[in-house]
C-alpha cells in the first residue's frame, strides 16, 4: 500500500476505475466464462498501460490494485460514513487530493459494490411457478364405479441457474388444510409481535 503514495493523481483515478471494474466483473465467477473475457482483457490492457506510464514492475501495480479493492470492499461491507473513511485513509499518510479521490470513488460505487457483495450468500431454492390439475378417478383394475378427486401439482423451483420440478399429489381435504396453514402463516405478519419487530427494523 505504501507504493500507492508514489502514484501520480491521474494514475490513481485510472486504477481506481480499474479496481471497480475488477470488483464488478471479477466477483461473479460465472462471468469469467466467455462474455466478460473481452472486458477482463481490456482491464489487463489498462493495467499494462499504467505499468508503461509509470515504468514500474507490474507485480506492484497488481498489489496496489488488490489493496484498493480490499479498501473498497471492507468499507462497503461495514458501510462506514464519510468521516470514518477519511480518518482511516488519512492514517495511511496519503496526500489531500488522493484522499479526496478515494473518498469520491467510495461514495460513487458504494451501492453497486454492496449489491455485488450480497449475491454469493447461501440461498435456498425459491419458487418459480406452480402448475396444477384436478382429476377424478372413476375406476381402477380392482374396483369399478369410484369417484375419487385428486389434485396433482407440479412445483417448479429455481436455485441460481438450476431449475427443478417436484410432482405432488393430494386429495382436496389435505389441500384445504395446506391452504389454511399457509394463510395462517401469512396472518402471522399482522400479529402485534411481528409488527413490533418490523417497526424496529424499519
Amino acid at each position: 500500500m505504501i507504493f500507492i503514495v508514489i502514484f501520480c493523481l491521474s494514475v490513481v483515478g485510472e486504477s481506481g476505475r480499474i479496481a471497480v471494474q475488477f470488483l464488478k466483473k471479477g466477483s461473479n465467477p460465472k462471468i469469467y466464462e466467455g462474455a466478460a473475457q473481452p472486458s477482463l482483457k481490456s482491464c489487463r490492457l489498462m493495467l499494462s498501460d499504467v505499468v508503461g506510464k509509470l515504468n514500474v514492475w507490474s507485480g506492484s501495480v497488481q498489489h496496489g490494485l488488490e489493496g484498493l479493492m480490499y479498501l473498497l470492499t471492507e468499507s462497503c461491507k461495514l458501510t462506514i460514513s464519510e468521516e470514518d473513511f477519511q480518518d482511516s485513509v488519512l492514517v495511511l499518510g496519503f496526500s489531500e487530493e488522493l484522499t479526496e479521490l478515494l473518498l469520491q470513488l467510495y461514495l460513487e460505487n458504494r451501492k453497486e459494490i454492496r449489491q455485488i457483495l450480497s449475491k454469493p450468500a447461501p440461498s435456498l431454492p425459491h419458487y418459480h411457478s406452480l402448475e396444477w390439475r384436478l382429476d377424478v378417478q372413476l375406476s381402477s383394475r380392482p374396483l369399478r364405479h369410484q369417484l375419487k378427486p385428486t389434485v396433482t401439482l407440479k412445483l417448479h423451483l429455481e436455485d441460481g441457474a438450476r431449475r427443478s420440478a417436484h410432482v405432488l399429489q393430494t386429495d382436496p381435504a389435505t389441500l384445504q388444510h395446506l391452504i389454511d396453514e399457509l394463510e395462517r402463516a401469512l396472518a402471522e405478519l399482522k400479529s402485534s409481535h411481528c409488527r413490533r419487530i418490523l417497526r424496529n427494523i424499519k
Binding site: S139, A165, H166
Partner: protein, 199 residues
C-alpha cells in the same frame, strides 16, 4: 368488484393501471396489437417489428410496449380460461375504463379465436409422463440352455415416455409371455371401453 374474466375475483391492480396505457393507442392499432398477442398465445410467434410500428404513433416507450402486451395477454388468456362470452367480457372491460371502440375491437378478436385459444390452453395443461412411442416385436423361442424344446412366443415391448420431473424421454423395454400379454390386453381393452363410454 368481482369480474368473471378474472375468475370471479378482483381485477389485479396492474391490469387496472394499464387500461389508461391501452386507451392511448387508437382502437384500430389496438385491434392489430390484439391479433399479434393472440398469435403469441397460440405459439405462432409474435412479430416485434410490427408491434413497435403499431405503438410508435402513441409514442410508447419499451416499458409501455411490454405492459400493453402483458395486459392484453392476461385479459385474453384469462377470458379463455374461464370461458367468458364476448358480451360479458365487453361490459366488464368497459367497467374497468377501456373505451368502447377498443373494447369492441378486443372482443371481436377474442370471439374469432375463442376456440383456438381454448384448444391451446388444453394442450399445455399439466400432464405427467406422456407416452411418446410404442414399439413391439413378437419372438418365438425354439430352445434354451435349460430346456431343449421351448417353443414359446414372447412379446418385446418398448415404451418411450416422458419423465415427470425432468421432462426427458425415458425408454423402458419389457418382454411378456403369451399368457401375461393376454391378461394385459384384456385389462387395457376394458379401460378403453370405459374411456369411450365417457366420451
Amino acid at each position: 368488484m368481482r369480474f368473471r374474466f378474472c375468475g370471479d375475483l378482483d381485477c389485479p391492480d396492474w391490469v387496472l393501471a394499464e387500461m389508461s396505457t391501452l386507451a392511448r393507442m387508437s382502437s384500430v392499432k389496438m385491434k392489430l396489437l390484439c391479433v399479434q398477442v393472440i398469435k403469441d398465445l397460440l405459439d405462432e410467434g409474435i412479430d416485434y417489428d410490427k408491434v413497435s410500428k403499431l405503438t410508435s404513433d402513441a409514442k410508447f416507450e419499451s416499458g409501455d410496449i411490454k405492459a400493453s402486451i402483458a395486459v392484453l395477454s392476461f385479459i385474453l388468456s384469462s377470458a379463455a380460461k374461464h370461458d367468458v362470452d364476448s358480451d360479458s367480457l365487453s361490459s366488464e372491460l368497459q367497467q374497468l375504463g377501456l373505451p368502447k371502440e377498443h373494447t369492441t375491437g378486443l372482443c371481436k378478436s377474442y370471439e374469432d379465436k375463442h376456440s383456438a385459444l381454448q384448444e391451446k390452453l388444453r394442450e399445455i395443461s399439466l400432464r405427467l409422463g406422456r407416452l411418446e412411442a410404442v414399439n413391439w416385436r413378437v419372438d418365438y423361442t425354439l430352445s434354451s440352455s435349460e430346456l431343449k424344446q421351448v417353443n414359446e412366443p414372447t412379446v418385446q415391448l418398448k415404451l418411450q415416455a416422458q419423465d415427470p420431473e425432468t421432462d426427458s424421454t425415458q425408454t423402458t423395454v419389457v418382454s411378456i409371455t403369451a399368457d401375461k400379454f393376454r391378461v394385459l390386453l384384456t385389462e387395457l381393452k376394458q379401460a378403453q371401453t370405459m374411456m369411450n363410454a365417457l366420451q
